[in-house]
Assembly symmetry: C2
Homo-oligomer: 325 residues x 2
């Protein structure tokens, strides 16, 4: 199961009332942050998911509006008491960029481990999460992310009881390890049923639509995608600057057969993103125009469902909702 929340929806420059685009993911008790522009730590504080359990940061690319919040965030995570290593993933150049960040955030009580990824890579994230990336098309190297949270195989308690496995050993078998009961080895195979699908989240920003990303995010329960430009007649600008229109993002979501789509990363010139929803919904109806605080769950049985509290904010474009007191 994955919980996910948008922390902001802005592009290029943080505005009063619109934090820069980033998303927070909670899996088990661990947090994963997707991009970290200036002010992201303030947006995180408003949302109360905590700082100490931030275990990984995934960076789409190294433009300042996606990374310049790192020095302050690292300090705040340190003040929250984190001591375990923080993993930072990003494209080529991330190691050098983190070296600069560490000039501004020198004394941290935890290690910052940086790993530069290339398209096709998959790495193990916290709580069994698999983090995969594809290369997008922007003015500089950019990565799209897919976070897969696998579900364990079904456990058959009747077979476990028939085999006289004590209940306090069941979790070992559920993990996939064998147990020995009174000299008999009980294998996981003997009590585990069929494979079951997990849940998956996609995150694609600051990129044109492209085959590599479509392939990466195929079938995810929720895709968070940039929609930098709302209007169809801005497609030339989107092409020139390596972004997408609402309609292009929706088309890519439809072609990748994702469950649901959240749009974010709105141009500073776009005042009311919600008013352009039809440009996306005509192509892909299961779309929500993002706002800070938009959140939902990817549940093993039911897939994507929005948090109950969202309805009261949905539809206002979120400008006033983004900067709470």
């Amino acid at each position: 199961m994955i919980d996910v929340m948008l922390l902001g929806t802005g592009a290029m420059v943080p505005l009063p009332g619109r934090w820069l685009s980033s998303a927070l993911v909670r899996v088990g008790s661990a947090l994963v942050l997707l991009d970290c522009g200036e002010g992201t730590q303030i947006a995180m504080r408003e949302r109360h998911w905590g700082f100490r359990r931030l275990d990984a940061v995934c960076l789409s690319h190294l433009h300042a509006d996606h990374v310049a919040g790192l020095p302050g965030l690292l300090h705040t995570v340190a003040n929250a008491g984190k001591t375990s290593p923080l993993l930072v993933y990003g494209p080529e150049g991330t190691i050098e960029m983190l070296r600069a960040v560490r000039v501004l955030a020198q004394y941290l009580p935890f290690d910052v481990v940086v790993r530069e990824l290339s398209g096709g890579d998959t790495v193990a994230g916290p709580d069994g999460l698999a983090i995969s990336v594809a290369e997008g098309e922007h003015r500089i190297p950019v990565l799209a992310y897919r976070l897969d949270h696998p579900r364990g195989r079904r456990f058959d308690p009747e077979r476990a009881e028939a085999l006289e496995v004590p209940r306090d050993r069941w979790s070992v078998l559920q993990r996939g390890d064998a147990v020995v009961v009174e000299g008999r080895e009980i294998t996981p195979e003997s009590v585990l049923g069929e494979e079951r699908p997990g849940v998956a989240l996609g995150f694609a920003t600051d990129t044109r639509p492209c085959d590599t990303i479509r392939e990466l995010v195929t079938g995810v329960d929720l895709l968070i995608s940039e929609g930098t430009y709302a209007r169809d007649d801005e497609v030339d600008r989107a092409r020139a600057r390596g972004h997408m229109t609402f309609r292009e993002a929706a088309t890519q979501a439809r072609d990748a057969r994702v469950g649901h789509l959240w749009l974010t990363h709105f141009s500073a010139a776009m005042e009311h993103p919600e008013s352009w929803r039809a440009n996306a919904a005509e192509v892909f109806p299961a779309v929500t125009i993002g706002y800070a605080g938009l959140s939902g769950t990817l549940a093993f049985d039911s897939g994507y469902r929005p948090f109950a509290g969202n309805a009261m904010c949905d539809g206002d474009g979120g400008r006033s909702a983004e900067v709470g007191g």
Copy 2:
């Protein structure tokens, strides 16, 4: 004449509703920024004094909460169309820090000129401003600043007319240069009267009270001073961490015979700074507890006076006033 405004009043960490401590100064059409933590550019945008004419940034010290907003600010100033050099002043280490900032803000259409200052230095700022510094007492090197805006000597139009100087040459004499009229050299001395006092602003944050700072800011029209801790019984903590209580800041202001005092840089644990005003006012009555947007003018004839709009905000501690929409 100097206009000055507080952009935020927070210490250590930017909070929802409380930007980090920094101040903006307007002299002529030029802007000078005093410190730049994460989010300072958002606070600047809320206040509408513009970005393009930012000509200098004065950094008190290199802790992240005073400098981590620079990468984003530099981008935003670039987007506003600035092409002339930006001067950055700060203590030892500022050159290395700016090198790191430039990894995050690589492509700028203007030069960033960094100058490291030591106690006793005075440099020429924009529009005739003289920028002087003293070293404070903190856990790392810290500078307090004094900004002097000199006033020209009185110009005597009757003497200029008697000397038959054409009116379109008067400004040359007012600047202090000689003019030649029909073969006669007219010196400034012949038309300029007595020296007149200018106005001065002091800025001291993240420091204990100390002789060097008291000497630097003696007689300024307005002193912006940290008051990290409100309560008198926090004085040991203030000493240990290199900060001041309200009462200590007020005592230093009184001893330096400043015209008016603004307190800022409030600990995140201090929820209602205004409610502790008496701790400062008992020592130095001409004190205002800062909030984002607090602004005033240092006028040549009348010294410090608050902007008219301040009254409606003054007294509420400013938490709600700081994050406008």
